[in-house]
């Protein structure tokens, strides 16, 4: 009796969702962030629903199985525009972004009320290494440091420390591809000593990102500059939102996303920028670390290059932009701080260009070389630049490494455009959201 009462109460809680960010799943997650009653959490242990948003390449299915098995009972899985794993063929699959929040909530409620069973465990219940009863002490090996107690070897000092002279144990782990603070798909083999990154070897490049279709159209025929610039600003705002969420600024992250959602040439960035500066984001959170030299900055391209002082922007080759008196903004320092300053400056510039271009009804003219928000697209699309971080992150403290990573845009550009209906569709919760706010 008491239990059923408890589960009825639990069914009314907001839905804790752990998102696995697959290929092209970001847009749906941005919308979920703004949906009331859904909470995107950072650890699978804090979730009742595993949402696989977007496709996952077959070679990463093992990693997906591991994440799947890390959710505590009871939990359900939901596949958004993604093929469920073979073992979970009967799992719920959703393709319509509008239906996603509703399906999530129903799944959570059914789970709590006991109408839906928990998703089955996929991996065998075995320790990573057999250990019980082996060796001197029954701990899987001999000696103080030998063996595999509880199924895993002990940490040893393998690398000399790179900062002070104390060489202590280093921890080597593979991270990703579904770690929420890394870019989607990025996987790496990382050695840490203390909370300092000793070495970082990128194993899986981040998933290619899909740009809005207007950028692909711009490669084929002239498009309105206003549209192009708004799409650019939207892209940067969404990246900013991710970094702000990471920095614990939930409020500004949401503001940034909302701004992106309702972006028009009349949108203004000043409010967001003022709040960012006032709350100390540039002083307390971003650091002067993560510095890219000229070669590395050129490899990454785009914002990172201009933040490092390279005046490279393909827009200056376009005659239409020339009529708008476009000159690229640049920063000189090339560190995390400079990259965010650059991003903000570029959003502002894009909004201003969009206003001007709309007034004058300008179309882009050059189609051979366009500047995407990710970087220059001349001969070929901006490629994967995740190799850069292998040199950049060693020596950084974990928090610095994550902040640096968030400030870098490394993924390649996909050849497919982002799904249009998804981006332009009205957010389902918007009206209800405002009503809720008033009531609270």
């Amino acid at each position: 009796m008491a239990v059923s009462w408890l589960s009825r109460l639990a069914a009314q809680s907001s839905v804790p969702v752990f998102p696995v960010r697959g290929i092209q799943g970001e847009a749906a997650l941005h919308r979920l962030t703004l949906t009331p009653g859904v909470e995107l959490v950072d650890s699978p242990r804090h979730a009742s629903i595993l949402l696989v948003a977007g496709g996952v390449p077959p070679d990463q299915h093992d990693a997906l199985r591991r994440v799947h098995d890390q959710l505590p009972n009871p939990f359900a899985t939901l596949w958004y525009r993604s093929e469920p794993l073979a073992e979970l063929a009967s799992a719920t699959r959703v393709d319509d972004p509008d239906a996603l929040p509703g399906t999530l909530m129903t799944a959570h409620q059914e789970l709590m009320r006991g109408k839906r069973g928990s998703s089955p465990r996929l991996l065998p219940d075995e320790p990573p290494n057999p250990w019980e009863g082996l060796g001197d002490d029954g701990h899987g090996g001999e000696g103080m440091m030998g063996g595999v107690p509880y199924g895993r070897p002990m940490a040893m000092n393998m690398h000399d420390d790179i900062r002070d002279g104390l060489t202590l144990d280093s921890l080597t782990v593979t991270l990703g591809p579904f770690l929420p603070m890394l870019p989607p798909g990025l996987g790496a083999k990382v050695t840490l000593q203390g909370d300092l990154v000793q070495s970082w070897i990128t194993q899986h490049a981040p998933y290619p990102i899909a740009l809005e279709s207007v950028f692909l159209e711009a490669r084929e025929h002239p498009v309105p500059i206003a549209e192009l610039e708004l799409a650019r600003a939207r892209y940067h705002l969404q990246r900013l939102a991710f970094a702000l969420r990471l920095a614990g600024l939930e409020r500004l992250a949401l503001e940034s996303l909302r701004l992106a959602q309702g972006l028009s040439p009349d949108s203004r960035l000043e409010g967001l920028r003022r709040r960012l500066t006032r709350c100390g984001f540039f002083r307390l959170t971003t650091t002067g670390r993560g510095w890219l030299d000229e070669t590395l900055a050129r490899r990454v391209g785009g914002v990172a290059a201009r933040a490092a002082g390279l005046e490279e922007d393909l827009r200056s080759q376009d005659a239409a932009y020339g009529r708008l008196k476009f000159t690229p903004v640049v920063q000189s320092d090339g560190d995390t701080n400079a990259r965010w300053c650059q991003t903000l400056a570029e959003i502002e510039q894009s909004l201003q260009l969009a206003r001007q271009a709309e007034r004058e009804g300008l179309y882009s003219e050059t189609t051979e070389a366009i500047e995407t928000p990710r970087g220059p697209w001349g001969e070929q699309r901006p490629g994967d630049a995740s190799g850069v971080i292998d040199d950049l992150l060693p020596g950084l403290e974990w928090d610095e490494a994550m902040t640096t990573l968030a400030s870098l845009d490394l993924a390649a550009v996909s050849e497919w455009p982002q799904d249009v209906t998804q981006e332009l569709g009205e957010a389902p919760g918007d009206g209800a959201d405002a009503a809720e706010e008033r009531r609270a």
């Binding site: 589960s7 639990a10 804090h46 307390l284 928090d399 609270a440």
Partner: protein, 308 residues
């Protein structure tokens, strides 16, 4: 006598702790909604449904945790919060633990909180929790000196290390006005103690939840409850040290204490939502090089003021 000195205070502390922790969640939800976080359902029900969900969720384990320490840490953190609340005088007579050195006892609660939070992250035996634990220790060992200086500042005019005397010494003028630097510095300590908002170095997002990243179900419920309870205890101490505790016209003393606690809570929760997380290395430097000297200034101010 037993009723007045034993049963009443025990019940009072328990109720204030539990109701206070609930109110922390409610106020935080309201602030979040006011700042634009989309919310479904009322702020009043949300903590209860969340708690119910955690109770029905399975408690997670790790491969080889330090079981006892892992389960004990949240409970001990809650117990520390209760101890902190016990030193708060609710009225001249209604004081759960009126130790002669209750100010120092609160200092020990702060120091022991660091130990407990470390233990919570350490005993899980996973990378992210471990980093969170160690990172928190850097913060915990930095704020403790600031807190001590600020509290010694309020002890000077009272000529006592007893919170009831500290409150009594504010009869004429509250310490928040008499020692203007004190309360802001102390609030920073409060955010640090509960790793809330800008000082959330233990359970931060960049560690996927840090020390709490591997706990789920009832254990996580106790941990979050204890964290909220610690905020309540802290606000009680701040209210008596700086806002004149039970002093105030018209209303009875205990009511004043609770109103002031609510005020401090609201400020803390708002700060937690408005400020970004401070980068750990910068946080330590900030504490030692900026805030600690400021607390020296506060102490000198308090000393000169007490002698005049």
């Amino acid at each position: 006598m037993i009723v007045n000195e034993l049963i009443l205070p025990v019940i009072l502390v328990t109720i204030v702790l539990v109701v206070g922790a609930y109110l922390v969640a409610v106020i935080d939800g309201m602030i979040a909604a006011a700042l634009g976080t989309p919310q479904r359902g009322g702020a009043w029900l949300a903590p209860l449904t969340q708690g119910a969900w955690l109770l029905t969720q399975q408690a997670n384990a790790t491969e080889a945790p330090d079981w006892r320490a892992w389960r004990l840490a949240p409970a001990l953190y809650l117990a520390l919060a209760a101890t902190g609340l016990a030193v708060v005088p609710f009225s001249p007579t209604l004081i759960p633990t009126d130790l002669v050195t209750s100010v120092v006892l609160w200092g020990s609660v702060e120091a022991l909180a660091t130990v407990v939070i470390f233990l919570h992250g350490w005993s899980a035996n996973t990378l992210l929790a471990l980093i969170g634990a160690y990172r928190y220790v850097a913060l915990g060992l930095s704020y403790i000196l600031i807190s001590m200086f600020v509290l010694i500042g309020v002890a000077l005019p009272a000529e006592s290390l007893q919170f009831s005397q500290v409150v009594a010494s504010q009869e004429g003028l509250w310490n928040v006005i008499r020692q203007p630097l004190g309360l802001p510095l102390f609030l920073i300590v409060g955010l640090g103690m509960t790793f809330w908002g800008p000082f959330n170095l233990a359970d931060s997002r960049d560690l996927a939840g840090g020390t709490a990243s591997t706990v789920s179900g009832p254990s996580r419920l106790v941990w979050e409850l204890a964290r909220a309870a610690m905020l309540v205890a802290f606000s009680g101490v701040a209210a008596s040290a700086f806002l004149g505790g039970w002093l105030g016209p018209w209303l009875p003393g205990p009511l004043w204490v609770m109103l002031k606690m609510l005020g401090v809570l609201a400020v803390l929760l708002l700060l937690g939502r408005l400020l970004p997380r401070v980068q750990p290395e910068r946080c330590v430097t900030l504490m030692w090089v900026v805030l600690l000297p400021l607390s020296f200034v506060d102490l000198i101010w308090a000393g000169v003021e007490a002698l005049l």
